[in-house]
Symmetry: C2
Subunit: 124 residues, 2 copies
Amino acid sequence: MAINKSTAFPERVQAIAKIAKALGHPARIAIIEVLLQRQQCICGEIVEVMPLSQATVSQHLKALKEAGIISGEIEGVKSCYCLNYAYLTTILPGFIQWFHSLQNQCCPGQPVKKTIDHENNACG
Amino acid sequence: MAINKSTAFPERVQAIAKIAKALGHPARIAIIEVLLQRQQCICGEIVEVMPLSQATVSQHLKALKEAGIISGEIEGVKSCYCLNYAYLTTILPGFIQWFHSLQNQCCPGQPVKKTIDHENNACG
DNA sequence: AAAATTAATCGTATATTTGCGATACAAAAT
DNA sequence: ATTTTGTATCGCAAATATACGATTAATTTT
């Protein structure tokens, strides 16, 4: 990659992609679900239920934190994480709305000949 | 990376992460938005409005296609793409619901001492 | 004071993603 | 039949992401 072209897109588009990217790994989805269930959780508890090493989990936590999705506080030797509700409430509505707009239309009838290689076709 | 641990997570979690990952780049969000506006679109038209080369756009189209989000048909020399409505309607409701569950709770009051390095804190 | 606990970070290996020019291939136009 | 057009794919380079063991630093516990 000569140079990163991500910033060549509108901020709004970048913002959506950024959230999606942060959620683009099963470990991070799993971490979020643990926090949903338990409200808050110390790092070690998350590591326990995860098929990954402490170092790797810590990395995923950092990624979620940098995306603003979770927040963490140090409590003595331990670190307590939780969902960053304040931030989530500001971005989720727009994010969800974008998905609703996806649900509400696509390809009516159109002329078709061959199908392109891969799977998943059938327009309309 | 010694080995890929993604498959060590539940299918449901993997499914969410897979969709998110496919949406995790501004170019792919932009492509989807073009298809939303125009209903269908030949590859060349997409390339025109994108700050990327034809080869790169083609790659992103392939990624979206493999994720099932769009579908493409060859029409003569051209390739016509559109949103894969059939697939989207099967996965989006669950995906959207997952986000709603995120919106509806997080960290009540909790004891807190120091804040961890990065930005984005403030629990509760 | 020493040992144990917890979690962030470093260093490293490997895999994947991103980006592009060049090429290949099919269909359309000449 | 040849040239042009449109796009998928190849090959490559560079950047990022994933994963982990080892280390570090801070705090408790002993």
